[in-house]
């Protein structure tokens, strides 16, 4: 049974729903939740209330708005209840439906995604504009439909944001030098929609899913490689109901598998002390803890240090589950910004680079560093950017 077709009403009939009957009420979810101390009903209480038939009360509180889909509760739940995968998004749908109006920032992002295929509302015909600045040839299927081994699904932030484009340019250079046989969708690509799903608007999510699947089916390729852990999540968990069955990889583990080839290319010494932030979707959700670290260690001169919270225990940047567009809302409620909590830990390591693998994090952490006045002490770089920098021309 695919997670996609489970609704809150039908949940009790599914194995996923039976799981909540086993909840021990141990509270590890609340203790692990980055907003556990401000959430009115953390997952433990939601489950208790559902079991007592009091779900209305949960939906009319705004508890679920502060769920940033970081998988921290799920990773530690002793009963293995798939909170972040199934229960919480379903509950969040309901909560949003009960809200008199969506927080404006979120509303705008969702509308933009529906209209332009990206949350920032940029014109879709400019999606592939960055390609010209990459400095290496990049094939687009629309122009040359010959089969390719890999379809590189670039995603929104990496297409439009200047700092996201740095990541894309780096990836393109790495692919080029490694001789990866790939193509992109160019302007035909639209947001994979993962956060659209998590923040409700299932209609929006389905529209994007139908659209992207139709485009995929036009071309021939063996695997999908994406720069965005959230798109990876959507393809892995949601798209298969529509027949998505290509091999799927995120750029970071994809490159880690090609370390042998990479090693020869990484010739420039980068004298950096680096700390790596495990993104929730790549880390806790997919357990790619070692791949990014292997890549960083492969760069001559780079030294790695760990933050107190790393790997399965990593602290979320606060951008998942729609959190990307709820900063104003959280601020109004007086919540601590999670990205600030995270960069404080990063700065405490003494590192000069905070390395990331998720496009959400660049802007969130750069902003947090600025707000806290650490932007002179620490820079945020995607792993791919560092790899590309270590390649001599």
């Amino acid at each position: 049974m695919s997670a996609c077709s489970v609704t809150l009403e039908t949940l009790p009939q599914h194995p996923e729903g039976k799981e909540i009957l086993t909840c021990l009420q141990c509270g590890v979810c609340a203790g692990a939740c980055p907003y556990g101390d401000v959430m009115e009903y953390p997952p433990r209480r939601m489950i208790a209330m559902m079991r007592a038939g009091m779900q209305e009360k949960v939906f009319t509180s705004d508890s679920l708005l502060s769920c940033v889909a970081c998988y921290a509760c799920m990773a530690k739940c002793p009963r293995g209840i798939r909170l972040t995968e199934i229960l919480l998004p379903l509950m969040k749908e309901q909560t949003l439906a009960y809200l008199p109006e969506l927080p404006a920032e979120l509303q705008r992002a969702l509308q933009n995604t529906l209209r332009y295929g990206n949350p920032m509302g940029e014109p879709s015909r400019k999606r592939a504009a960055w390609v010209k600045t990459a400095g290496v040839p990049i094939r687009s299927f629309a122009e040359d439909r010959r089969p390719a081994d890999a379809l590189w699904f670039v995603e929104c932030y990496t297409s439009y944001y200047p700092r996201g484009q740095d990541n894309s340019r780096a990836t393109a250079r790495l692919f080029h030098r490694l001789g990866v046989d790939y193509a992109i969708l160019g302007n035909e690509e639209k947001c994979a929609g993962e956060c659209g799903r998590l923040t409700w608007e299932p209609g929006l999510f389905e529209t994007l899913m139908d659209y992207n699947m139709a485009v995929f089916q036009k071309y021939q390729f063996n695997r999908v490689v994406t720069s965005c852990p959230h798109a990876h999540n959507a393809f892995k968990n949601r798209y298969p109901v529509l027949g998505f069955n290509w091999a799927l990889e995120h750029v970071t583990p994809f490159l880690a598998k090609r370390l042998d080839g990479l090693n020869a290319l990484l010739t420039r010494k980068l004298p950096y002390l680096v700390t790596y932030h495990d993104s929730c979707c790549l880390g806790r959700q997919n357990e790619f803890y070692e791949a990014p670290r292997q890549l960083l260690r492969a760069i001559p001169g780079v030294k790695l240090v760990e933050m107190v919270h790393n790997r399965v225990n990593s602290l979320c940047c606060g951008g998942g589950g729609g959190g990307m567009w709820l900063d104003t809302y959280f601020k109004a409620k007086g919540y601590e910004r999670l990205s600030e909590r995270r960069v404080r830990e990063a700065v405490a390591t003494g590192a000069d680079i905070l390395a990331v693998s998720c496009p959400y994090e660049i802007s969130r952490f750069e902003d947090a560093l600025k707000v806290l006045g650490y932007d002179k002490r620490m820079m945020v770089r995607d792993v791919t950017e560092l790899l590309a920098e270590a390649m001599e021309e």
Partner: protein, 631 residues
């Protein structure tokens, strides 16, 4: 079914009866034998494993040879494994048809009787093995107690006090340990392991390997002068008995009350082993006792025993497997077993609870269920951690006056005087917080304190409590080599890896191998009272077996048809039990006592001159045909 069976050729009467194994059911069989002059019986019902013996008995009481009987397993072979009722019914008919055709070939047989070796092997010298060995020895049996470590005692020897009564562990254990050593009916082999087990119930032949301790047990008087004299002036090697919290020299005794009171030399760290150039001050001081022998070799012994008691115990869960609890990363995060050593007067701190930096903790957090009740580690409850956590909370409070927080999910205190103990510890002011700890991280001010973060589920708020010391109440796990030991003794393990009992309620200390029993934590987590109850039960089972003097074995042995054997010897090397010999320079002979009825030789014999009781060719072929021909 009954109608169908009644119509099969050769069937005189077919009946359905709900409780065939009950007395009236069995009486029915006897009555039918009398009334109808039956000469073969087939029962199609539950598992032969449970009831074949019952029905053979009934057949015998009806006046027939008990082997004029065959049982069809409609339970595991049919009803329990299929969901399509109609197809399962057809399969039942097929099985009955096959059995009816088979049973007509059955010949009268007599069960074999073999005598029993009176000695017993006990494997593992923790409290379970010690207690079983003493009980058996007191009953006059000779016991071989085989222990892997240099001393017996197991985990209990590492504790200071025991819940719920707070008896001093050493005070109750040491007398038993010395009794083992002194008992004339017990042969104690430490640093020893079982290598091979052959034979069968009543007649096991067991090969034991004794590793060298480089000290001759008969000559060492336990004066410990060699330890004093060792060229290592300081103890430098992390000491396993103290879980690395203390240090020992290359020549050492695990703990003051160790049994046997004989030192051990560790070849990994002893200079003489490494360079051959040590001054050997130990040998000098041992003088005319000559107990030290750097050339001691491993020794292999083979013993004959009638029964075996396995008491190999458990291992504690490796806390480093839960990275967010910081074990191995933050020096003030300890496991419960480590804290047992810290509170123990003979431990590395002389019984004072001191942190690694020498400070006395002022706040302590105890974390329950580490590696228990968790899908990511072990699903089961380890049963003793709640109680030992209460014990440690009490001891820590008593010894340091620290503020103690105990983070629990449920406090499980179901034994005699357990709840009362919980009550007492609560009264003493230990603070109980109901919530599973979600995160442990440094408090950040460089003083070594860590923060325990958990939801206090009863208050409905997340709490972050800074403490000086964390105690992780780690669960109990099967030994790392449990699967290898299981294969060695040919017994089963349940899914989590502990040894499997023959029946969870009615045969809790029996394994699936006749004559092999088990006791203590090798069967599953349990406390000392339950462990000792099991070792008594296992000893009683072994005694009952041995004192019967003989065992009855299935007459399912193979035999050579003398005139047909061509003397090719194909069968001889194939027999896993070495039961076949070559006699009179011309033919194979099978020793009935040694034959286990595996059938290998029967299948291998090129001239078809080996046959096997209960598996005669006619029986098998007709059974197969019965199964395959259409109804």
């Amino acid at each position: 079914m009954t109608r169908y069976a009644g119509g099969l050729p050769g069937v005189a009467v077919a009946r359905e009866y709900k409780y065939m194994c009950s007395d009236p059911g069995q009486e029915l069989i006897r009555q039918d034998i009398r009334d109808h002059g039956l000469d073969r019986i087939v029962v199609a019902a539950c598992s032969p494993h449970l009831h074949e013996h019952t029905f053979r008995q009934a057949v015998a009481l009806g006046g027939l040879n008990p082997y004029y009987f065959h049982m069809v397993n409609l339970r595991e072979h049919d009803a329990w494994v299929h969901t399509d009722k109609a197809a399962a019914t057809e399969k039942a008919m097929d099985l009955v048809r096959a059995a009816v055709r088979r049973v007509k070939w059955h010949v009268p047989l007599e069960p074999r009787q073999v005598s029993i070796q009176a000695d017993v092997l006990v494997v593992g010298g923790g409290i379970a093995g010690i207690d079983a060995a003493l009980t058996l020895a007191n009953a006059g049996k000779h016991v071989y107690l085989v222990e892997r470590e240099p001393t017996i005692g197991g985990h209990m020897a590492q504790f200071d006090k025991t819940f719920p009564t707070l008896d001093c562990a050493a005070c109750i254990l040491t007398p038993k340990m010395t009794a083992v050593k002194a008992h004339r009916n017990i042969t104690l082999w430490t640093m020893a392991e079982v290598r091979q087990v052959e034979g069968y119930v009543g007649n096991f032949s067991v090969t034991v390997c004794r590793k060298p301790r480089y000290v001759l047990e008969d000559l060492c008087v336990g004066c410990l002068e060699c330890i004093q004299a060792c060229v290592y002036k300081q103890a430098k090697v992390p000491d396993a008995f103290n879980l690395g919290l203390g240090k020992r020299k290359p020549v050492y005794i695990p703990f003051p009350q160790a049994v046997p009171q004989v030192v051990v030399i560790d070849p990994e760290t002893c200079i003489e082993f490494k360079s051959g150039k040590c001054k050997k001050t130990c040998v000098e001081v041992c003088a005319e006792r000559h107990a030290i022998d750097f050339h001691q070799k491993e020794e292999i012994r083979t013993i004959q025993v009638g029964a075996i008691v396995l008491a190999t115990g458990f291992e504690v869960f490796d806390a480093a497997r839960i990275p967010y609890y910081g074990y191995g990363l933050y020096p003030n995060v300890y496991t419960a077993l480590e804290v047992e050593r810290l509170v123990n007067a003979s431990g590395p701190t002389g019984g004072e609870i001191l942190l690694r930096d020498g400070r006395k903790p002022a706040t302590v957090g105890i974390v329950h269920c580490v590696g228990s009740r968790d899908e990511h580690t072990n699903r089961y409850c380890s049963r003793v951690c709640c109680m030992y956590s209460l014990k440690l909370a009490h001891l820590i409070k008593e010894k340091t006056g620290a503020e103690v927080y105990s983070f629990y999910i449920d406090v499980r205190a179901p034994g005699k005087a357990f709840e009362e103990f919980y009550n007492r510890v609560a009264e003493e002011g230990v603070i109980f917080i109901r919530g599973k700890v979600a995160d442990i991280y440094p408090a950040g001010n460089g003083d070594g304190r860590v923060i325990l973060q958990a939801e206090d589920t009863l208050l409905g708020m997340v709490r972050k409590i800074p403490v000086d010391m964390v105690v992780l109440s780690t669960g109990l796990e099967p030994r790392a080599d449990a699967a290898a030991v299981r294969r060695l003794f040919n017994i089963g393990c349940s899914s989590e890896g502990f040894f499997l009992e023959r029946h969870p309620k009615l045969a809790p200390v029996n394994t699936f191998a006749d004559g092999i029993f088990m006791a203590g934590c090798c069967q599953g987590p349990k406390d000392i009272p339950d462990t000792v109850a099991q070792s008594g039960a296992a000893a009683a089972q072994a005694l009952a077996l041995i004192d019967a003097g003989v065992v009855e074995l299935e007459p399912n042995t193979a035999h050579v048809v003398e005139d047909a054997c061509s003397g090719c010897k194909t069968c001889i090397p194939l027999c896993p039990y070495s039961a076949i010999s070559f006699v009179e320079e011309k033919r194979a002979y099978i020793n009935e006592i040694l034959c286990k009825g595996c059938g290998t030789c029967v299948a291998a014999c090129p001239s078809g001159s080996i046959r096997q009781n209960l598996f005669e060719d006619e029986e098998i072929f007709d059974e197969i045909e019965g199964l395959l021909v259409p109804a």
